[in-house]
């Protein structure tokens, strides 16, 4: 068995609000192996966002250990965390979080510019390649405001992919999308996962979770259930059957159908 992508044990996170302490995570153990497509489920307040922030090296646990791809993360400095995010992680957010008034290709290029190892040449070309990979080869110079929701999320996925990260972290990636576009984005995640990328998706929607191979239920700061999905749905197949639905409305659904 190769090194796990993620190995956390006994992770706790306590926030201090005045004199009271809020326990966001009360001891979480989790191991994620390379090539997994994992869904983290939980309602709001369950602690899944905190878990996501810790997994994403945006935050450090109060207690417990976290090893990401063989690197001990807990106790790292702010700068080291930034470098680690740049080298090993790709983020996809609910609100897309693209830079406004900045072209798609410049948005995707951004993480390459913050690289400190000097491993990227022709960053613009690499960014264009990543956009082609998510099917936006024709939209390189478009600004986010000129793209539909689904397209914006694909730009975000391209930005997450461009550094060839060990792990792709998606926080409610379909939260702002209509159901058809959501399935299309899930199809993209599944396709990328099949190419060998480890993907973790945080969601509260069960129909999104059913595309994962493994689902974790988080409640009250603990992992309640951790189970494999027997036969995950194939999003690519679902997209075909949904094509017949002419009433699909929502963010950019009609533009996306083309």
């Amino acid at each position: 068995m190769s090194t796990p992508v993620i190995e956390i044990s006994g992770v706790k996170k306590v926030y201090r609000m005045g004199t009271t302490e809020v326990f966001a995570l009360r001891g979480v153990d989790l191991t994620v192996n390379p090539g997994e497509l994992l869904a983290v489920m939980g309602s709001s307040g369950s602690g899944k966002s905190t878990l996501m922030n810790i997994l994403g090296c945006l935050d450090v646990p109060t207690a417990g250990s976290y090893v990401l791809d063989g690197v001990r993360v807990d106790g790292m400095s702010r700068n080291d965390l930034a470098d680690l995010r740049n080298r090993k992680l790709g983020f996809v957010f609910q609100g897309f979080n693209l830079l406004p008034r900045t072209s798609a290709v410049e948005n995707v290029e951004l993480p390459l510019l913050y690289d400190r190892t000097g491993r990227w040449k022709n960053t613009r070309e690499l960014a264009a390649d990543a956009l082609r990979r998510v099917g936006l080869g024709e939209r390189l110079e478009h600004q986010p405001s000129e793209l539909s929701g689904g397209q914006q999320q694909r730009v975000a996925i391209a930005r997450a992919l461009v550094t060839q990260p060990t792990l792709l972290l998606a926080d409610e990636p379909t939260g702002n999308l209509d159901s058809k576009t959501s399935v299309e984005v899930m199809a993209l995640f599944q396709a990328l996962n099949e190419q060998g990328i480890t993907v973790i998706i945080v969601t509260h929607e069960t129909d999104i979770a059913q595309y994962a191979h493994r689902v974790i239920d988080v409640r009250d700061g603990r992992i309640l259930k951790d189970h494999a999905v027997e036969s995950p749905r194939r999003a690519a197949d679902d997209v075909l059957t949904m094509d017949t639905d002419p009433d699909a409305v929502g963010t950019g659904a009609t533009k996306e159908a083309a």
Partner: protein, 404 residues
């Protein structure tokens, strides 16, 4: 991050908000422009005064007759005339710090030619006179030492005389009369213009002082002795030297000086120090607007940091360190203020040129002012951009990403 992509990024985000960038830059533009115009005007005034003083002569020292006391009441300057040619000769032979000495005998008389006549000042001088006054001839030449020794009746005419009596021809070689005495014109002086007090320096005829004593004035005392110090730094010592020689030659012993030694540097220094104080004052007032412009930049950068909180969060999420964000915002404010500085420089030069043209003022901007203005505007960018940039760099990525 590479410098090039950093600069591209900064200019990119500056250009994304053109109107705001322009308004922000305006403060720096006006500040730098004002400083340049003020310095140009002040400096021009100083140059003009220096030129006027230089026009009087090179390192000019003037010895004039002193005062005398009658029954305890001082009769004021030049009441006791005891300046002689011998004094002038002694100064010339004994002084070590002087390059030229000339006695000056001043009379006024009528210049008469076949075409007309003109009353003017006749100065009897030696051949050193022109070099002391930093003056030249446009036609012919000054009389020679030989002419002086032989007391020849030769004259050099000022430009105003020539304009009035010889409007169409070169007077060199012609005969004129000074009073009743016939003189031969040997040269014409270059036009020198007016003194700062409005006296026409070209309304003059120069003759050998020996001839003037003999034929025109009829007395032997001198109006003044002009001398030129070898170098500007010797001015004070040269005056002291002249004073010593004069006291010695007049055998004064314990009595006070019966002559006065003056130079133009005192006047020059007073004039230039006044204008340099004015220049400094104007520049100081103008730099206040530069500081105000800097505060404008800080204000906008703070707004910009708040407005772009989410962008900062995104950048941090994809791997930007705090220092990357700090540098980005700092570069933005420096680029903005530098750009404002360069535009202000252009406007300042343009404004100075227009002022010079319209008001007829001499304007001059020293090159150093350019570097100071540009350097100062960059410093303003760093100084006023640092606080907002540090605020941006200290943001928590999670909070920043959630910021609405």
């Amino acid at each position: 991050m590479k410098t090039k992509s950093l600069l591209l990024m900064a200019t990119g985000s500056i250009l994304k908000n053109k109107m705001r960038t322009m308004l922000t830059m305006l403060g720096i533009v006006i500040g730098v422009g004002a400083v340049i115009v003020m310095v140009a005007v002040g400096n021009g005034a100083q140059k003009q005064i220096e030129a006027q003083i230089k026009n009087l002569g090179t390192n000019l020292i003037v010895v004039t007759p002193g005062s005398t006391a009658a029954g305890g009441a001082s009769q004021g300057a030049q009441t006791f005339n005891r300046l002689t040619v011998a004094d002038a000769d002694k100064i010339k032979s004994d002084a070590t710090l002087l390059s030229a000495v000339s006695p000056v005998i001043v009379t006024r008389t009528q210049v008469i030619t076949g075409k007309g006549n003109w009353r003017t000042e006749i100065d009897g001088v030696s051949t050193d006179y022109l070099s002391i006054r930093d003056w030249g001839v446009t036609s012919g030449d000054l009389f020679t030492d030989d002419d002086v020794r032989a007391k020849r009746k030769v004259a050099v005419l000022g430009a105003t005389i020539v304009k009035n009596l010889f409007p169409d021809s070169d007077p060199v070689g012609t005969q004129i009369q000074l009073g009743h005495v016939p003189f031969t014109v040997v040269g014409v002086l270059a036009a020198k213009g007016q003194t700062s007090s409005g006296v026409d320096q070209d309304d003059i005829v120069l003759v050998p002082y020996t001839t003037a004593q003999d034929r025109l004035s009829g007395f032997t005392f001198l109006g003044q002795i002009l001398a030129s110090a070898s170098s500007p730094k010797d001015m004070a010592a040269a005056q002291e030297e002249i004073r010593g020689i004069m006291r010695d030659s007049h055998g004064l012993g314990g009595s006070p000086d019966d002559f006065t030694v003056r130079d133009q540097t005192a006047i020059a220094q007073a004039a230039t120090s006044t204008t340099s104080v004015m220049t400094g004052l104007l520049a100081a007032i103008a730099s206040i607007s530069l500081v105000v412009g800097g505060i404008g930049i800080m204000n906008i950068m703070l707004v910009s940091v708040t407005e772009r909180t989410r962008e900062i969060g995104i950048r941090m999420a994809v791997g930007a360190r705090g220092s990357d964000v700090l540098t980005q915002f700092l570069v933005e404010s420096v680029v903005m203020s530098l750009l404002g500085g360069v535009v202000g420089l252009a406007i300042g030069f343009g404004g100075a040129a227009i002022l010079g043209h319209v008001m007829g003022w001499t304007t001059a901007t020293p090159l150093i002012a350019v570097f100071v203005a540009v350097g100062f505007s960059a410093a303003v960018g760093v100084f006023f951009g640092y606080y907002p940039a540090r605020k941006a760099a200290a943001l928590d990525p999670i909070q920043a990403l959630r910021y609405e």
